[in-house]
Amino acid sequence: MTHPSDRLSAYVDGTLSKGEAAEVAAHLAECAACRETVTDLRAVRQLVRAATVPDPPPELLPRLLRSVGTATPRPPGPVPWTLIAAGFTLAAVLLARVPFVPAAAPPLDELRAYGRLAARVPLVELGTASFVSTAQVEEEEAGR
């Protein structure tokens, strides 16, 4: 009996053709040793899927780079002060050019004062002046 040992892993992975898979399946029905191997392969597969992938150790990249003959990178550590200073300088330059203008409420007090004082000009209609100082203003207030 020839054991299909080299195809069992591919069988577990489901990468065999239908004919090959049928042949392996027929063999497994008769061979307890191969069934045990397939059971082990499936268990390993489940274990790998369930396992979390750990981060590579920090020394791995320098070691790899050294092994391929490139320059040794700077070891990870705090960001250099020159970079921080450059960042602050850039931010200051940008802030120095941006105007700071917070908005205020509409000038209702000014409009009211305007209406009251304009009403004292002889040729100004009181109705119009009062409209400015009351109705229009109050409407605006109500709409806010």
Binding site: A92, L95, A96, R97, V98, P99, F100, V101, P102, A103, A104, A105, P106, P107, D109, E110, L111, A113, Y114, R116, L117, A118, A119, R120, V121, P122, L123, V124, E125, L126, G127, T128, S130, F131, V132, S133, T134, A135, Q136, E138, E139, A142
Partner: protein, 345 residues
């Protein structure tokens, strides 16, 4: 009005009308001291072709003052305003809540204001009729650019302005106040009238006349003089209202109101748009026929309201002085400095 005055006015209207205009102006400016009347007035404003209309019920008596009930044509809003020589009282007819203002400062004489008007506007007059009454049509055209035009219909018998139309310098905004019903009343007819007793009135801070030296003594520095367009004169002294110094100016028809506050950084009114000038930004907002300008200079903020065109008002800002807006960094450093000073306390 005496029969002699009616005869003189009629003679003036019938003869050389333009020459009679100054006399009529004089009569118009004194009419509210001599004539009692009541009526319904329609006030309409157009801003960028968008009309807004209000009905105003007008009652006037030289012995009492003027009572106006202003009703929005679009809503149920009803405001009542009483004008007396020393007070302005405004309240909402429904909520009975309002404000009362007191004038303690003097005013420029009416005759002086008529003189300003004649200096700044060309006057033409022609006889007409309104509400079935003989009237005089006065057309006021500005001598200076950037000023509004005005068209008045004056009641020949009383000198009361029955219809007043003002048009902005660019013709895009206008205001029309016209009586649709008008009746002459005997002087003293409003004497029994009193504002309702159940009003809840908020007394606005007293307005006090101050000199620039007093302003300087209060804030440690004097605000810069505001540059005035040609033909404008102070209508009031400097008025201190809370922490605001105000002064009104007039050219006889248009009014300018300048409000000055101590301010470190600008806080322009919401809805205004910045206009970049040589000195710095000036914020402009349109309020019907009026423009509202805001800018800062030398540690003070200026709010200017006037019926002049935006360019004429921007020149006021430019010539008074405009400072650049502070940057975010400057504002941050100022805030830090302020916080450190507070932490020392």
């Amino acid at each position: 009005m005496t029969p002699l005055a009616v005869w003189a006015l009629s003679l003036a209207l019938g003869g050389n009308a333009p020459a009679a205009a100054p006399e009529v102006l004089d009569r118009v400016s004194f009419a509210d001291q001599q004539v009692a009347y009541s009526g319904e007035q329609l006030v309409t404003t157009w801003e960028e072709k968008l009309p807004q209309a209000f009905w105003v019920h007008v009652q006037h008596d030289p012995a009492v003052g003027t009572r106006l009930v202003i009703r929005s044509a679009a809503g149920a809003h009803r405001q009542v305003v009483w004008h007396t020589p020393h007070h302005v009282l405004q309240y909402d007819a429904r909520t009975r809540q309002g404000r009362v203002y007191r004038f303690s400062h003097g005013r420029v004489s009416r005759r002086t204001q008529v003189t300003w008007l004649q200096r700044n506007y060309f006057l033409t007059a022609s006889p007409t009729q309104l509400l079935g009454r003989p009237a005089l049509r006065l057309h006021l055209t500005p001598r200076h650019p950037g000023r509004p035009r005005a068209d008045l219909r004056v009641d020949t018998e009383t000198g009361v302005v029955l219809r007043s139309e003002r048009i902005s310098p660019d013709g895009r905004s206008r205001e029309l106040a016209t009586f649709v019903r008008f009746a002459v009343r005997p002087v003293g007819w409003m004497r029994p009238s009193r504002p309702p007793a159940d009003l809840q009135l908020q007394r606005e801070p007293p307005v006090r006349s101050v000199t620039l030296d007093e302003v300087a003594a209060r804030w440690g520095r004097q605000p810069p003089e505001v540059w005035l367009p040609a033909g404008f004169y102070p209508m009031t002294p400097y008025l201190l209202e809370g922490s605001v110094v105000r002064r009104a100016y007039s050219d006889g028809l248009a009014t300018l109101l300048v409000s000055i506050r101590p301010a470190v950084s600008p806080q322009p009114p919401a809805g205004s748009r910045p206009v970049h000038r040589t000195g710095g930004p000036v914020w402009v907002q349109s309020a019907g026929l009026r423009q509202v300008l805001y800018w800062t200079y030398a540690g003070w903020s200026f709010t200017l309201i006037g019926e002049l065109g935006p360019e004429a008002l921007l020149e006021v800002a430019d010539r008074t002085g405009v400072q650049p807006a502070p940057t975010v960094l400057e504002a941050l450093l100022r805030w830090l400095g302020h916080s450190l000073r507070l932490s020392d306390l």
